[in-house]
């Protein structure tokens, strides 16, 4: 992390100092784009969410009480902005209905995730939209199924089943990708 006095930075941002605002953006933009990227299917959409999210951050910064980490607070804003974006956007709505037509085998295997972060993020993005959101919220953001149910307007049992299917699908893809990588490495050698 950049050695910056976070408290002072927030204070300067509240005084509408452009330099401080730019500094805050640069400090968190990369990481937050990673968050937005996982919820969308295109980088443009992720950047739109990032933009909306940062506008909210600057307009509501006075509500930040320095009680938790600033990064976590900004991250929560990004996640909520992403969910709102998905619900508003027609492109994503069709896939947000959590259809249970496609069933995927559930597995309890815990494969070693040897993929690069970008590869893993891309695999998460390939999940159906409903699975993708539930997986992101549960596995990465740490929401409970009850909370996910409230956020998405579904029951917690639906959230559980969606997550189980998302997890199974992702593990299968990770294994396939890992095997492919290993083969390529062997072939390379």
């Amino acid at each position: 992390m950049v050695n910056i006095n976070e408290y002072q930075l927030v204070k300067d941002c509240l005084k509408q100092k452009p330099k401080a605002q730019r500094q805050l953006y640069e400090l968190y933009a990369q990481n937050m784009l990673g968050v937005c990227y996982r919820y969308t299917k295109s980088t443009n959409d992720a950047e739109d969410i990032l933009q909306d999210g940062f506008v909210k951050v600057f307009s509501r910064l006075k509500q930040y009480k320095h009680e938790g980490e600033l990064g976590a607070w900004i991250r929560r804003i990004m996640v909520n902005t992403a969910i709102n974006f998905l619900k508003r956007n027609r492109k994503y709505q069709d896939e947000m209905f959590f259809t249970e037509q496609t069933l995927h085998p559930v597995t309890d295997d815990d494969p070693a995730v040897i993929l690069q972060t970008k590869q893993l993020a891309d695999l998460i993005r390939q999940l159906p939209q409903g699975y993708q959101v539930v997986f992101n919220l549960f596995a990465i953001e740490g929401y409970s199924h009850v909370e996910i149910g409230q956020v998405l307007g579904i029951s917690d049992s639906t959230s559980r089943s969606q997550y189980a299917r998302a997890r199974a699908l992702l593990i299968r893809w990770i294994n396939e990708t890992s095997a492919k990588q290993k083969n390529e490495n062997y072939a390379g050698k």
Binding site: Q16, P18, Q21, R22, Y25, A29, Q30, N31, L33, G34, R38, T43, A46, E47, L50, Q51, F54, V55, K56, F58, S59, R60, Q63, W73, R76, I77, N80, T81, I83, N84, K87, Q93, M96, F97, F98, T99, E100, D110, P111, A112, V113, L115, T117, L120, A121, I124, G130, F138, A139, I140, G142, S144, E147, Q150, V151, L152, G153, I154, S157, R167
Partner: protein, 466 residues
């Protein structure tokens, strides 16, 4: 929560994950936050400008009025001084000796100092009209033999009649020893009016003037007969103050115009059993409102009144919501970072009343529409600060209603129009329509909607109107 190895691995890897955003992201963020700042600045300067303009106009009016009054007083004082310095009048000094008929004819008016003093001994009305006319008409020709002494005596006697008249040295005194006929009196009055150069205010300074008194009496009598208030009572250029109470209906409308409900929107909601369901955003229905406060009023002219006031307004609207959930969910979009005690958007069968509390500063003009009837057309502009509200905000993401004061615009500008009718010496009855120029919500994603507030009111003048 992630419990096993897989989730932990994914979480760790994703926490490290980041991407470089393109430069357009920051450019647009910067533009949007600056736009918000600019809007706030514009609102601040606009308010400041309005307040300064209003206070400048008021101060200007007061200063002009005071200046006019002091000018009149100093003028009056000077004239008094001139009179006191004036040499004691002697018959020989006041009039030229009458050499003969020719002289009398050629110089019927005797000049004394700056003023032409013409005495008329036939009535004191002419005196109080600030001019005493002495005409040597036909009768004068017949009385050519009258001595100058007699003439002078009449001048002096009239000069002594009223000290008040002395104040009006610009006036012309015409001596007429004979009784004029009615036509002569009318002519004299016309002449008086044309010759009189002092303002009506100075006239008023001169007390006990039968003619004016007579006029006033007749005006009062006619007003009493018609049941109307005298104009002078409404045209008192003093600050009047009192209490005001208004009551009516408040509603929220999209754009300009009367609509009884806020346009409803339909939202897609994911359903637990697959497929989709829709949630309709509840319309906003009209509800009660009232205002109570104090005001000051001042007459600018016979037709215009200036109004200023400070008041408290309570406005309310209603909407239908679903069941109340006594639970907390995290939502960084809210001021608290979480939502507690929210209402579901679905199954909206319960009525909920939104309350709004405003503090208002207003300024306006009342214009008398008709010449004969005291009906005023009132136009007002007011700045209203939203003190508090429990309005429900609809979150299209969560499909719930919750209270969030931060979502509302705090500064509002209302335009008001209406009619005001005086009722007795202490009351004014009013009917009004107010429109909020500012959208209720500060949230850009919500279509702008504005308050409309209409009703009736009553003004009570503590100081009386007279």
């Amino acid at each position: 929560m992630p419990e096993n190895k897989f989730e932990k691995q994914v979480q760790r890897k994703m926490e490290e994950f980041g991407l470089n955003p393109s430069s357009r992201v920051w450019d647009e963020v910067e533009e949007r936050i600056n736009k918000k700042r600019r809007k706030r600045k514009i609102a601040f300067w606009l308010l400041l400008f309005l307040l300064i303009s209003l206070s400048s106009i008021t101060t200007g009016i007061l200063i002009l009025k005071d200046k006019k009054k002091s000018n009149e007083q100093s003028y009056l004082k000077n004239k008094k001084q001139e009179l006191s310095d004036f040499p004691v009048m002697k018959p020989a000094e006041t009039t030229k000796p009458v050499d003969g008929n020719q002289n009398t004819k050629s110089t019927p008016e005797k000049i004394i100092g700056k003023s032409q003093i013409k005495s008329n001994n036939h009535n004191s009305i002419a005196l109080t009209q600030s001019t005493i006319v002495n005409r040597k008409g036909d009768e004068k020709d017949n009385k050519k033999t009258e001595t100058a002494k007699e003439e002078d005596k009449s001048v002096i006697s009239e000069w002594q009649v009223s000290d008040n008249v002395k104040q009006i040295v610009d006036s012309t005194f015409v001596v007429n020893n004979s009784q004029p006929d009615k036509s002569d009196t009318l002519d004299e009055k016309e002449k008086i009016n044309s010759e009189t150069s002092i303002s009506s205010e100075i006239k008023n300074e001169v007390e006990q003037k039968p003619v004016l008194q007579e006029k006033k009496d007749s005006a009062n009598t006619s007003n009493q007969a018609t049941g109307k208030q005298p104009v002078s009572s409404l045209h008192t250029k003093k600050w009047k103050f009192g209490l005001t109470i208004e009551g009516g209906i408040a509603e929220v409308a999209k754009g300009i115009g009367f609509v009884s409900s806020y346009p409803a929107s339909v939202y897609q909601a994911p359903s637990s059993g697959g497929g989709s369901s829709t949630i309709s955003l509840s319309p906003v229905y009209a509800s009660g409102a009232f205002t109570a406060g104090v005001f000051v009023q001042r007459s600018l002219s016979k037709k215009l009144l200036l109004d200023m006031g400070l008041s408290y307004s309570f406005l309310s609207t209603k909407r239908k919501v679903g069941n109340k959930i006594d639970s907390t969910i995290s939502n960084p979009n809210t001021s608290q970072g979480s939502i507690t005690n929210f209402y579901l958007g679905a199954n909206a069968d319960n009525a909920y009343t939104n309350h709004y509390h405003f503090l208002n500063i207003s300024g306006g003009i009342e214009w008398r529409i008709f010449k004969k009837n005291f009906v005023f057309w009132k136009n007002e502009f007011s700045y209203c600060r939203l003190l508090s509200s429990d309005e429900l905000y609809f979150d299209s993401g969560y499909l719930i209603y919750y209270r969030d004061f931060s979502q509302l615009n705090k500064n509002h500008f209302f335009l008001s129009t209406g009619l005001s009718i005086p009722a007795g010496n202490r009351f004014d009855l009013e009917a009004f329509l107010k429109y909020d120029l500012t959208p209720t919500s500060a949230n850009k994603n919500i279509p702008p909607a504005h308050f409309t507030y209409y009703g009736i009111g009553i003004k009570y003048f503590l100081s009386g109107k007279k």
